[in-house]
């Protein structure tokens, strides 16, 4: 008998995991290049746009329940310390205040390795208690009545001070993460450097960046009997459910997590948040619905961040540009906790090179914990690697694009396995052509002008193949309307729409007849977090299988009604035709005759191909203008070419590309969390002081896909789209700035101050 459960490799956020997968009931033939598809690949409109333009889309922050109470959080004002006393009485005595919780109410519940509401203070803005009241205003006023006595302890804010010999201890075991240094190598780096005819060494710095999702972290919880329903702004309803069930010692079936719409995640909302633990605990204690939504200051200070990095890079090459050695020493402060996202990944994967050595040192500091942030690791690594590649090209007097082409990696060198497909060469070709790269490169630089132009480019790779487990149900109602049910999330990506397109394609249905239902653990089959750019590639194949099963059942029913065989039928626009006669029936007519018989198809995601790397690729080209008197950088245009396999809906996918590029532009030019170097207090926890791009900063963007289905990756030919575009933007812009100025830029964001520093320290006076 064939095995039902097997294991397979799935890559998420640069980490490869082994997953158990239940083999699908069928594994359809891949939709190849020549597949005749009508709805997949079409520029349909976003299916939830109507709810969003009318204000009817209900986000977590919009959930209002009868008797609901509001929460405000008390937070620490020192970077390290011991709380001697926490007197809540003045707050609890205020009219309208209904209760509070501290660490004692949530014993053993941890977030990022830290006890929730811990009495030991690890960073400024760490939550220490939650107050619950009839209105938000009363709760906030009550929090201001709390004055905890905290004994200050010495703290460290950055990696250099954390690694100093006599540094205060951030964690009991010390300031180095156990996995530090994480060293990976292939070949012989010393030999590679000996073989090099040209060697360059540089140090690059990247900032702590904040997700700044417009909808903050938040949750509403309501108990009924021994069960709790939680609305949470999350990228993973099932992850949130298991986190909460474990923390509150409940069976999974006693926790229902709902998330219909969410106002952005970008990686920071991957499980139960502090808001969810707080709302659930307070709601249990007070037996009323409780809402806990972070305020903006809380969101900007304590809701995750992209880690800063210092990257010391050495590249060695032959005169003809062949890379002989790539070496990286990176230092990455995590804050008080988080996971080990890897800037090294770009260095070992992007280019062909026999000798690579990377070393990553992860350090704890007295700052808020990091979290995944759109392409974590690769964004930081790309800035270092791709900046260094341009320095090398300059040394070799070679076109930067040519240098990259000469070091094209045709397989996954670390694991010595093939790529399912790789069309980065097409991205280079089409991107350069649409940008006018050769022409722009050969343009003479005016080194006396105040405003100078430059061009730059960078490459990207991202493991975006998705994988199991993921389940979907397709059901056809008595009136012929169709529902796709799956526990995935739509963060604003368009998942609702593209999953409906897959189902409509298989069924031969009108897209308008299909509705995708997401975001409810109690009513929907499992799908994993929407992270790592995996949703369409993970869930799409499951939807395809489910829709095929439903179509087969529908055709069997119709065959009897049309006096023919199921394989003699085809469908289009929700109408079933007999191939041999002109007889046809609408889906609705078939279903009405079936009465209350409901056609249900079940599908699951099959395993990934063995010994195969599944990656998305791309290349970005940027043109900038730099004012050498003010230091202001303006990005004029970006051309971005992507290989993400088949594109289900080009319009929605291009929207994601544009969004990624714009976030990357913010990372390159403006975005940086700034701490007071003495106290560790964040100095820019507002949207005025932490600058994200506005509509006025946006350049002309030409972002597109080569759109070649990856038939090896999965049977829909799809790979991920969401994260790749942010990876190459900062280095492409930095390389363009360096081209404009004739001096290198080694640190982002490239604020006017830093640019002026480069200008004055460089060859331009």
């Amino acid at each position: 008998m064939a095995k039902r459960f097997v294991t397979t490799k799935v890559e998420v956020e640069g980490r490869e995991e082994t997953k158990v997968v239940e083999l699908p009931t069928r594994e359809p033939e891949p939709w190849g290049v020549d597949a005749s598809l009508h709805i997949v690949g079409r520029r349909d409109k976003r299916m939830d746009a109507l709810e969003k333009v009318t204000g009817e889309a209900e986000y977590t922050a919009d959930v209002q329940l009868p008797g609901m109470l509001y929460v405000a959080l008390a937070r620490a004002s020192v970077a390290a310390g011991k709380m001697q006393s926490l007197d809540l009485a003045p707050a609890l005595a205020m009219p309208g205040v209904r209760g509070a919780i501290t660490m004692d109410d949530v014993p053993g519940i941890k977030l990022d390795g830290i006890q929730v509401f811990d009495r030991t203070i690890h960073y400024v803005y760490q939550p220490i208690a939650a107050i619950c009241a009839d209105t938000q205003e009363i709760a906030e006023r009550a929090v201001r009545a709390i004055h905890p006595a905290i004994e200050r302890l010495p703290h460290v804010l950055d990696a250099a001070s954390a690694l100093a010999p006599d540094a205060p201890r951030v964690k009991p075991h010390g300031n180095l993460h156990r996995a530090s240094p994480r060293v990976a190598s292939r070949g012989d780096i010393a030999a590679g450097l000996r073989d090099a005819e040209v060697t360059i060494t540089r140090e690059y710095r990247t900032p702590v960046a904040l997700h700044t999702a417009l909808e903050p972290h938040g949750a509403v919880a309501a108990w009924s009997g021994d069960r709790v329903t939680v609305w949470e702004s999350t990228q993973g309803i099932f992850n949130t459910r298991s986190d909460l069930a474990e923390a509150f010692e409940l069976p999974l079936s006693s926790v229902r997590v709902v998330k219909n719409y969410m106002g952005g995640g970008f990686g920071a909302k991957n499980g139960a948040s502090l808001a969810a633990y707080t709302a659930v605990a307070l709601s249990r204690k007070l037996r009323r619905p409780v809402r806990c939504i972070f305020d903006r200051e809380g969101e900007q200070t304590d809701a995750g961040n992209r880690t800063a990095t210092v990257q010391r890079v050495t590249l060695g090459a032959r005169r003809d540009g062949t890379l002989t050695a790539i070496s990286l020493d990176a230092t990455i402060p995590l804050g008080i906790g988080g996971w080990l996202s890897s800037p090294a990944r770009m260095y070992s994967e992007m280019y062909r090179c026999a000798n690579v050595r990377t070393s990553e040192t992860f350090v704890f500091t007295n700052t808020a914990p990091m979290a995944s942030f759109r392409a974590p690791g690769n964004v930081e690594g790309a800035f270092g690697l791709e900046s260094a590649m341009d320095v090398l090209a300059h040394e070799l007097e070679m076109d930067p694009l040519e240098l990259r082409r000469r070091n094209y990696a045709d397989h996954d060198q670390d694991k010595n396995r093939r790529y399912s497909a790789k069309h980065l060469d097409e991205c280079y070709r089409l991107g350069a052509e649409r940008f006018g790269w050769s022409r722009a490169r050969s343009r003479k630089r005016d080194t006396s002008a105040r405003v100078r132009r430059g061009v730059g480019m960078a490459s990207l790779a991202w493991g975006a193949g998705g994988g199991p487990p993921a389940y979907a149900t397709v059901r056809i109602n008595g009136d012929g309307s169709i529902e796709v049910l799956t526990g995935a999330q739509d963060l604003g990506t368009g998942a609702r729409t593209v999953l409906a397109q897959v189902a409509a394609e298989v069924l031969g249905a009108k897209l308008d007849d299909v509705r995708t239902v997401l975001g409810d653990t109690e009513r929907l089959p499992f799908a994993s977090n929407s992270w790592g750019s995996i949703t369409t590639a993970s869930v799409g194949p499951a939807v395809r299988v489910a829709a095929e099963e439903a179509r087969d059942a529908l055709f069997e029913a119709a065959a009897g009604m049309l006096d023919t065989e199921p394989n003699e039928l085809e469908s289009r626009d929700s109408e079933i035709h007999a191939k041999s006669s002109d007889r046809c029936l609408l889906f609705r007519e078939v279903c009405e005759k079936l009465g209350d018989v409901m056609i249900i198809g079940q599908g699951s995601r099959g395993p990934n191909p063995e010994k195969t790397a599944l990656s998305a690729f791309g290349a970005q080209f940027a043109e900038v203008e730099v004012d050498v008197e003010t230091g202001r950088v303006r990005v004029l245009r970006v051309v971005s070419a992507h290989d993400s396999g088949r594109i289900v809906n080009p319009t929605l996918a291009e929207s994601q590309l544009e969004g990624g590029i714009i976030q990357g532009l913010g990372y390159a030019l403006f975005e940086e969390r700034i701490l007071d170097s003495r106290t560790g207090v964040p100095l820019n926890p507002t949207m005025h002081d932490y600058k994200i791009p506005t509509i006025g900063d946006v350049p002309e963007i030409d972002a597109f896909f080569v759109d070649i289905p990856d038939t090896v990756a999965n049977h829909t030919g799809v790979k991920g789209v969401a994260e790749p575009p942010i990876i190459a933007t900062a280095p492409a812009i930095a390389n363009a700035v360096a081209d404009a100025l004739g001096v290198e830029v080694a640190e982002i964001p490239m604020t006017p101050w830093r640019v002026l520093g480069s200008v004055r320290g460089g060859s331009i006076a």
Binding site: A49, A61, E215, V698
Partner: protein
């Protein structure tokens, strides 16, 4: 006090210091208007006050006595979307949708003042509304298309 929201009259018992955003969301349950920064930095709570865009987080309810407040919920008339709403759908000028109500009302206000804006006018006119998903290129297109269709003349 009396507050007119989307043409309907409401008696609200808001204290003098309450902001319009709180009144709309927590008293009238009109949650289409979003709280994001709460201090006039992002534009997500944009409403129309006597037809002109205003940040509901910086507007006191008490100052709105007898004035016309329009929110996203009142923009469609008789089941017909406002042309700006339709243009946002047609041009995919939204992703997560959280900033969308504010963007749309800012655009309605802009086209009312300036029915035939240039691309630069749109960028300037919409620059008080932040979007983290980066839908800006599509927003520019949507607003220009709505203007083209005469959205600012009604």
């Amino acid at each position: 006090m009396r507050l007119i929201v989307n043409g309907a009259s409401h008696e609200v018992a808001a204290p003098d210091h309450e902001r319009l955003l709180t009144t709309l969301r927590d008293r009238l349950h009109l949650t289409g208007t979003k709280l994001v920064c709460g201090r006039g930095e992002c534009g997500a709570c944009t409403v129309l006050l006597d037809g002109a865009p205003a940040y509901a987080c910086l507007t006191l309810t008490a100052a709105c006595h007898g004035r016309e407040v329009s929110t996203i919920e009142g923009l469609a008339q008789d089941g017909e979307l406002h042309p700006v709403q339709q243009a946002f759908i047609d041009h995919d000028a939204l992703q997560c949708g959280f900033c969308t109500p504010g963007q749309i009302l800012a655009a309605v206000g802009l086209l009312d003042r300036q029915p035939h804006p240039s691309e630069d006018d749109v960028r300037r006119g919409m620059s008080g509304n932040l979007c983290r998903c980066g839908t800006y290129p599509k927003i520019v297109r949507a607003v220009l298309a709505a203007a083209e269709g005469g959205a600012g003349n009604g």
